[in-house]
Amino acid sequence: MAEMRINGVRIEDTFAEAFPMTYTRLVITADTPAWVEAATSSLTGFATSVIGCGCEAAVERLLTPEETPDSRPGAAVMIFGMSTGDLAKLVVNRVGQCIMTSPGSACYAGLLQGTKRIPLGGGLRYFGDGHQVSKKFGDRRFWRLPVMDGEFVCEDSVAVAKGIGGGNFLILAASHRQCLAAAEAAVAAIRSLPGVILPFPGGVVRSGSKVGSKYKALIASTNTRFCPTLRAVEPETLLAPNVEAVLELVLDGIDEAAIRTGMRAGIAAAAAGGTAAGVLAITAGNYGGKLGPHHFHLHEVMGEVTE
């Protein structure tokens, strides 16, 4: 395939390799946007990677009062796990410890149709110690749990569905500052899209990993081929001499279209300033195509926005 450039930024002829995951979506509300942020930052804390955290989570988008069930400010949060069973345990624990505890909060299902349902209030109701109240409006059941600031209202259960985790691209830049600026632009572009989240801090990963390690106890270790400080000693380095920093964006989405749209928007935003902004190349992480069934070839993803 011919070389691809966007504003002079080289788009490598490679692909991102992604994996099937199970996801759900919660709608969190509170009295003010600040308390929505407090509740959701707690809910999505320590949820960057299933490998170490058990799940991956982030705010999908903020919601206006007109969009939420109780007419208050809110946010849609997506949580990804490796299985329905894993997600069932993690979600009810996180909602119980992070949403029920947050002043004025409420938790609703943001996914009503899916492959199965997992408990929310249905698992937390016993905290009410016999004083919990169930209300069913239409097809949706809610629990009212008495708490110290009034009642915690929580939907009985939420649907789960099949999604995709691990869509990604890497930004190679001439300086750390420029790399970070490009990554921030990409994050802003992706966060405006529905159905896709960036679970890492600020939406960006700086410690990309490879499979395996020289230490037998570790299943993954730093991605030496993309470490600029190891360029001189790493025979398989993938970095040109002028690359000073690399940052990665990892995307989880509800389907291939969501990942593809997110990657495209993110790469376009990262490359918008071109080489003049210090962005030299965009590449992607994969395992040779043997582990993940979802392959997102950068040239195909960016096919319609080339120079």
């Binding site: 007419s71 004083h131 109240v133 209300k135 409006f137 809610f142």
Partner: protein, 251 residues
């Protein structure tokens, strides 16, 4: 409302048992077929066509009933799905034992609205009843699930022996509300100065779940959809039945 229309043209004051005329039972029947169905009335039985003008249309799309001056009992009783709109008043047991669907009565409803049919242990088990006027005694008696919203007042023993569900009466209620209530919510649009018998004063506050009720009532045009507050005085009871029910009186 598209669908089938039944307009009463018999004698004023005629009592008719309407429980056989449900959207799910009439779905797919022609006007002539519906007109030929027998219906208990007065002390006997008559064909629907002998008492009602039956318009062409499919009741699956909705059933519009114009009582004129008849007393139509058990309208929508036992209904599981579909929509019934009564343009005028309904008699007793409207929506009794209903398990789904929408029953809208633009006028007043008689006793036992959304309650239990005689001899049956449970009242309404699902669906939505909306009444533009008032309702009689024992509204939502033994109700298990669903929503009944009445713009005007309801009579005595409202939500009596209620098992669960919601009765929202914009004009308040008569004596002995929530008698024998086990769980569920009786929401009143009028302030209640003292705790009804069998209830404890649970204090005044804003109730978040009432926003959910309001969303569930969107499109009905009911009093609570228009109410600008979710602040209410809560009374917990009936304490003789475990005290898991509530009467919420709006401020």
């Amino acid at each position: 409302m598209s669908g089938m229309t039944l307009t009463f043209r018999g004698d004023a004051g005629m009592a008719v048992d309407m429980s056989a005329l449900l959207p799910e039972r009439l779905a797919g029947l022609t006007a002539d077929e519906v007109a030929g169905l027998p219906l208990p009335c007065g002390g006997g039985v008559a064909d629907v066509g002998g008492m009602f003008d039956v318009s062409a249309g499919d009741a699956a799309e909705g059933l519009l009933i114009r009582p004129v001056q008849a007393v139509l009992h058990r309208v929508g009783a036992g209904m599981a799905s579909g929509r019934i709109l009564v343009e005028g008043d309904a008699g007793s047991h409207a929506g009794a034992g209903m398990s789904g669907g929408l029953l809208r009565i633009s006028g007043n409803a008689g006793d036992a609205l959304g309650g239990a049919l005689p001899g049956l242990p449970l009242g309404m088990r699902g669906g939505l009843i909306s009444v533009g006027g008032s309702a009689g005694d024992r509204a939502s008696e033994r109700m298990r699930r669903g929503i009944v919203v009445v713009d005007g007042p309801v009579g005595a023993y409202a939500a009596g022996f209620m098992v669960a569900g919601t009765l929202a009466a914009g004009g308040g209620c008569g004596p002995h509300p929530g008698f024998g209530m086990r769980r569920g919510t009786l929401l009143l649009g009028r302030a209640q100065n003292e705790a009804p018998g069998g209830f404890a004063d649970g204090g005044m506050r804003d109730w978040l779940f009432l926003h959910l009720l309001r969303r569930a009532l969107e499109g009905t045009g009911s009093w609570f959809e228009r109410a600008g507050t979710t602040r209410a005085h809560r009374f917990i009871g009936d304490l003789a039945e475990g005290g898991h029910g509530e009467i919420l009186a709006m401020a």
